[in-house]
């Protein structure tokens, strides 16, 4: 497919190298007195666990984005879907329990959040597929609606934009270690998504729907249905990501500023672009972005007097650097286009 361009692996390696260099340079820049060895010592099992938890919303958003965009619908509203599900999970769990949810009630909130995210994605799908909306503007609208709606509803329910804290989902024992439920879901979803996309008929339909919808139509598969499933899957995965963030790690909904999601949906988009629409690659990129985030948290815990806002900027700068170096990823041919079936 790509002749003059570097192969996927080369690109991946180049990107990873850039990432590591940037991270190390940043560290060197901020703490010239600290040896890198001290940073390396940060990386232990606890660190990996914390990175995995931070990966959850990014990776799920990325998985969802892959399904939508491969089917031909660019969904830049992923950030909004994460916000909606993070809010819904806490709101439902908090409301049905009267403020102090049990594990079962947390799980009900979790499921409700995924449903809410899927419903929002359905709205987006209808707007894009039936009413031929500009996908970029409609995706922007999904984000802005969520950005307004979640704090609005928070104020209606709790009288302030932040929810009171709730419990988080219990870890369960998995073989030798404790496992965080959303992390486990993620570790299962990533290979599952890869399998579905690369080894099943449905995966081939998704691929064809984004690359050559006419061919798909010709062999008798309904392009509309495939695209609907792609977008709904993006809602499903984002729902898991948002609820996983709120109930799996934070235990609260924070609606101030850019909300607790704080750009993770956007980073998810970059993660799958970086991973070249491959779920495994997208997961790797999400993991790298999350590890930068975790590094920032850990450095603060270690008591370095570094302005946290500045370190907080590193993942976003990395995204920009990566986009600039990796540059164009080949988006599906028909992504962003509306498809009109010849015969009705």
């Amino acid at each position: 497919m790509s002749y003059a361009e570097p192969s996927r692996k080369q690109r991946w390696l180049a990107g990873a190298a850039v990432l590591i260099v940037v991270a190390l340079l940043a560290v060197e820049l901020f703490f010239p007195e600290s040896p890198v060895s001290e940073i390396v010592r940060i990386v232990d099992a606890n660190y990996i666990r914390s990175v995995l938890r931070l990966t959850v919303p990014i990776a799920f958003a990325a998985l969802g984005g892959i399904f939508a965009e491969k089917s031909g619908v660019i969904n830049i509203g992923l950030e909004g879907l994460l916000i909606i599900s993070a809010f819904t999970s806490v709101a439902v769990a908090g409301t049905i329990s009267g403020g102090n949810p049990t594990q079962l009630q947390l799980w009900i909130g979790f499921v409700a959040a995924v449903l809410a995210s899927v419903l929002f994605a359905l709205l987006f799908a209808v707007v894009c597929i039936e009413f031929k909306a500009d996908q970029i503007i409609a995706g922007l609208a999904v984000w802005l609606i969520a950005l307004g709606l979640a704090p609005f509803a928070s104020k209606v329910i709790w009288g302030q934009v932040n929810s009171p804290p709730v419990a988080t989902l219990n870890n369960f024992d998995l073989l030798v270690a404790e496992a965080n439920p959303p992390v486990v879901m993620m570790l299962v979803s990533v290979p599952a998504a890869w399998y579905v996309l690369n080894r099943t008929a449905f995966g081939r339909w998704i691929e064809a729907s984004g690359e050559n919808p006419k061919a798909l139509d010709t062999v008798g598969v309904d392009v509309r249905k495939v695209r609907y499933s792609g977008v709904l899957l993006s809602g499903f995965f984002s729902g898991l990501g948002g609820a996983g963030l709120a109930l799996g790690r934070v235990g609260q909904f924070i609606g101030g500023g850019t909300t607790m999601v704080n750009g993770r949906g956007w980073i998810g988009i970059t993660a799958y672009l970086f991973g070249n629409y491959n779920p495994l690659g997208a997961f790797g990129a999400s993991f790298l972005f999350a590890s930068l985030d975790a590094l920032q948290i850990r450095l603060q815990q270690l008591g370095y007097s570094v302005p946290s806002e500045l370190i907080g900027v590193i993942p976003y700068v990395t995204v920009i650097v990566v986009l600039a170096f990796v540059g164009r990823t080949r988006i599906p041919d028909a992504a962003g286009d509306h498809y009109e079936s010849g015969e009705e």
Binding site: I76, V127, F131, K132, A133, D134, I136, I137, A138, L140, A141, V142, W143, L144, I145, A146, L147, G148, L149, P151, F152, A153, K155, V156, I157, V161, T258, N262, G263, W266, I269, T270, L273, P307, E309, L310, G312, V313, Y316, V317, V319, I320, L323, A324, F325, G327, R328, G336
Partner: protein
């Protein structure tokens, strides 16, 4: 661009010239023909947002608990908020008392800058979602430059003029440079500007916060903010007795609207900018360096956002402080509502200025959260994104059988003319559709 009636110097290049004239005409037709439809769609989207918003108000009033619900239904529950009175308070609160009207005009002034910023980028075929970041850094540049220069100028009107000029200039410069970054990244590294501008928003607020908290912080203050700029450097209220609104700024912003309109429609730079937005390939063929155009149009866009930040500091806050309102994101809505037309930005900014002031009134008077405006903002964008929806509804319910009647009003001289006008109108609409899609493709 020199037109074909110019002197002989341009004549030899006949092919290129006729292409240019043709493209010019096509572009003009596209803008003119779509104007009416765009206005219709904007109004329809507004109306639909009001309806859906009313539904959201009802539902949230049903969820909320209150002393005296406006309406209770056995078996269903009680509703705290009355949509009609919410909208009434919102509209009245935007204009009365006069203090509120000054707030509305303040918001309008600021939104004119961010709306223009988004519109200019849009016209060049670029999505500038980074207006917020450009504004935040522009504001910081303004605050810092005014504070630095202030000791060297005489206290008084003259010194104030110098400081304001310096502040506006630096704000525009910083915003412009920050805006040019995603332009350059798109031009030379093919990085999607939607993503980079959003990322740069996060970077801008983080960098600005760090700079102020670590270096430029006001030692007297607990919160992260710079020292206050001297009073004589603040834009003075002329008309309303208000500390946050200056008629000078509004007049300046309106002059800027006229200037940008002229730039887009009366200069060769504007022509190149619009052509590369609508038809990049044709623009390249016509000799436009599209890469440089990306950088410069984003630079202009960022400079406008930076000016907004400068005015925010010089007129409203008198310092840089955390929690700068989301004027940049509102600018996106303003521009999209205005069909990305600089002149349309004026009513759209006024409407959003009114809505924002009204939202304070509904929170104060009715205890309805002011974030409602954020929801309406998103809804408006969503509905404007789907013109096809309104076309379908229109075709089904109204225009399908009433179009001849509408045409009669316009050209009632001959019966034949009516038919022709009707078909002509239909064709124009179709042409617009095709043109719009071509323009949105990227």
């Amino acid at each position: 661009m020199s037109d074909s009636s110019g002197d002989g110097r341009d004549a030899p290049d006949d092919g290129s010239e006729s292409w240019q004239t043709r493209a010019d005409r096509a572009l003009a037709r596209l803008v003119d023909a779509s104007a009416a439809e765009r206005i219709l769609i904007s109004f329809a989207a507004l109306a639909l947002s009001v309806v859906v918003g009313a539904f959201i108000i009802l539902v949230s009033g049903w969820v909320a608990t209150c002393q005296s619900p406006f309406f209770a239904l056995g078996g269903v529950g009680s509703f705290c908020y009355d949509p009609v009175s919410v909208y009434r308070v919102m509209l009245v609160g935007a204009a009365w008392p006069p203090y509120n009207f000054a707030i509305t005009l303040k918001e309008t002034t600021l939104l004119l800058f961010t709306g223009l910023s988004v519109a200019v980028a849009f016209r060049a075929g670029m999505f500038n979602i980074g207006t917020q970041g450009q504004l935040v850094l522009g504001a910081l540049g303004t605050a810092m430059s005014v504070l630095w220069v202030a000791p060297f100028v005489p206290v008084g009107v003259l010194g104030g003029l110098v400081l304001i000029a310096v502040g506006l200039l630096v704000g525009a410069l910083v915003g412009g440079l920050w805006g040019a970054i995603p332009g350059a990244l798109k031009a030379y590294a093919d990085a999607n500007e939607v993503i980079t501008t959003i990322m740069l928003n996060f970077v801008a607020s983080g960098v600005a916060f760090t700079l102020v908290s670590e270096v430029f912080k006001d030692p007297q203050s607990q919160t992260v903010q710079t020292r206050s700029i001297p009073g004589f450097a603040q834009l003075q209220a002329v008309f309303f007795d208000s500390t946050v609104f200056s008629m000078l700024a509004l007049v300046g912003a309106l002059a800027l609207v006229a200037g940008i309109y002229w730039m887009l429609n009366g200069t060769s730079f504007g022509y190149d900018l619009r052509t590369s937005g609508v038809q990049p390939e044709a623009a390249e063929y016509g000799g436009v360096d599209s890469k440089r155009m990306m950088v410069s149009s984003m630079g202009v866009s960022g400079a406008l956002a930076g000016l907004g930040g400068a005015v925010y500091v010089l007129m409203v806050a008198s310092r840089w402080q955390t929690g700068i309102p989301s004027l940049g994101f509102d600018g996106i809505t303003v521009s999209i509502l205005a069909g990305n037309n600089p002149l349309g930005v004026v009513p759209a900014a006024l409407l959003f200025g009114a809505l924002k002031t009204g939202s304070l009134a509904i929170e104060f008077q009715l205890a309805v959260p002011k974030q409602l405006v954020g929801v309406l903002r998103g809804l408006i964008i969503l509905f404007i994104a789907m013109p096809e929806f309104f076309r379908m509804v229109g075709a089904r319910f109204r225009f399908g059988d009433e179009r001849p009647t509408v045409a009669t009003d316009g050209a009632g001289e001959t019966t034949v003319g009516v038919d022709e006008t009707a078909t002509g109108a239909g064709e124009t609409t179709d042409g617009t559709t095709a043109g719009d899609e071509g323009g949105d493709e990227r």
